[in-house]
């Protein structure tokens, strides 16, 4: 009986597409096994699994498709669905009042790796780092981060985009006009993602956005570890939106290792937060660890990857 329950729980965490894939594979494998060595227990387990795969209510689908039926036909996908990073930081600040400076990323991204995907993700991380400096109201840190940002822009062939906005960024930092600075970075990230999308680099645009989000989640997780409250990291819906976005990528893109890694880790976090109520400290720590490791893996220079 416990086997059936275990199967049910596992299956309920799968998306509809994953359930179909597993069902097909399982039917094929089961047929082969039964021809090879027929036995009663094996047949019973096989039947139980098939029933579970075909009837379990998927939690993933419930979380992702919870839009009320009457609103679903009118739904339009926009950039407004996920909150902006300053919005997340604002909520975190009100909840935990963190000392932002202690969360600066000490490891600087390696330069000139020759990998555009790696650089796009790294640029996202750096843009979030600049937003962190803005939260900390730290002009010097912002200037330091801008050096790394410029390197990435140059590598991606987008230096002109930064040239147009850099004077305003420095002027706002000089004037301590942090609200305007955050808006400028929001606009810059949007503009760069659109520019990459226009030049058929939709994968880079996606990685740029994920770099920003993953670094944001890492910062929020670090704040949460200190405060003991899961602020900004405990919303399964956020992870679900990221996974949905990966699912919408072209199949060829989604098969690449970096996207598979992103999807797998984000999906694990979504499941953890969708289920976890009693294990908050463990979940907070696990989130920090997983996100940090993911960022480090993606930012690792290609020649160092195994």
């Amino acid at each position: 009986m416990w086997i059936s329950r275990e199967i049910w729980l596992r299956v309920s965490l799968l998306s509809r597409r994953e359930r179909k894939t597993h069902l097909c594979k399982f039917l094929a494998r089961g047929a082969q096994d039964r021809y090879a060595k027929p036995n009663g227990v094996g047949l019973l387990a096989w039947i139980c699994t098939v029933i579970a795969l075909t009837t379990a209510v998927p939690q993933y689908a419930t979380a992702q498709e919870s839009t009320p039926d009457w609103l679903t036909p009118e739904l339009v996908g926009t950039g407004l669905t996920l909150p902006s990073i300053p919005e997340v930081f604002r909520a975190v600040a009100k909840e935990s009042n963190p000392r932002w400076r202690q969360f600066y990323r000490t490891a600087r991204p390696p330069r000139g790796s020759g990998d555009r995907q790696h650089s796009a993700f790294g640029l996202g991380v750096q843009l979030c780092e600049a937003l962190l400096a803005a939260e900390a109201r730290d002009s010097q840190q912002l200037r330091n981060t801008m050096q790394d940002i410029r390197d990435s822009f140059t590598f991606l062939g987008l230096a002109d985009r930064l040239d147009a906005r850099q004077p305003a960024i420095f002027a706002f930092a000089e004037d301590q006009n942090w609200g305007a600075l955050r808006l400028e970075f929001d606009a810059l990230a949007l503009e760069v993602a659109e520019a990459l999308g226009r030049q058929s680099d939709a994968d880079l645009a996606f990685l740029l956005k994920q770099g920003i989000w993953m670094r944001c989640l890492e910062i929020c997780a670090e704040v949460s570890v200190i405060s003991g409250k899961p602020t900004g990291i405990g919303d399964a819906e956020i992870y679900g939106s990221i996974v949905s976005a990966i699912n919408e990528l072209p199949a060829e893109t989604a098969r690449q290792p970096v996207f598979k890694d992103l999807k797998a880790e984000t999906e694990r976090l979504r499941r953890r937060w969708a289920e976890s109520q009693d294990t908050l400290p463990a979940s907070i720590e696990a989130t920090r660890e997983k996100v940090t490791n993911l960022i480090d893996r993606i930012l690792q220079p290609p020649h160092e990857k195994g």
Binding site: L71, L80, P83, E87, R90, A91
Partner: protein
């Protein structure tokens, strides 16, 4: 719980107006105008606490149709949604619903010329909400949506 909070200050109202100008200028595709009004809005808003998202949605809604936007809001924040309507149509309405599809609040005019509607919200819980824009007018509506937060 009374979710309809009054806009508390003239500065907030000026933020709404200026951000609305950014939205309205979007219709003209005059990027320079958007940029200059945006920067002006930022200058005026400095120190106010409300910040505008740079992301905005622009679209056309045919007569009798609706468009719904899924948004994720934090209970710690305060939001002001802005809907600009180039045609100043009486029949264009917008409202916010919770994740169960229950009405939370409806937008109201913020400008006498009917070009801009606003909706002020302090979410009771963090999570998913839906912004629904309906066009009950006889003409196709050209609208733009964004929001500010603090």
């Amino acid at each position: 719980m009374n979710l309809r909070l009054p806009l508390t200050s003239l500065r907030c109202a000026s933020m709404v107006t200026l951000s609305g100008c950014v939205l309205l200028s979007a219709f003209a595709q005059a990027e320079d105008a958007i940029e200059s009004v945006s920067l002006e809005a930022v200058r005026v808003l400095a120190g106010d606490g409300f910040e505008r998202r740079d992301t905005r949605w622009r679209g056309q809604i045919p007569t009798g149709e609706a468009r719904t936007h899924k948004v994720f809001l934090y209970k710690q924040n305060e939001y002001c949604f802005l809907l600009a309507d180039a045609g100043r149509l009486e029949g264009v309405k917008f409202a916010i619903y919770n994740s169960k599809g229950e009405l939370i609040d409806a937008g109201t005019f913020h400008r006498a010329d009917r070009t801009l509607r606003g909706l002020h919200l302090r979410p009771p819980t963090s999570g998913v909400y839906y912004i629904r824009i309906v066009n009950d007018d006889n003409a196709t509506a050209s609208v733009a949506l964004t929001y500010c937060f603090r």
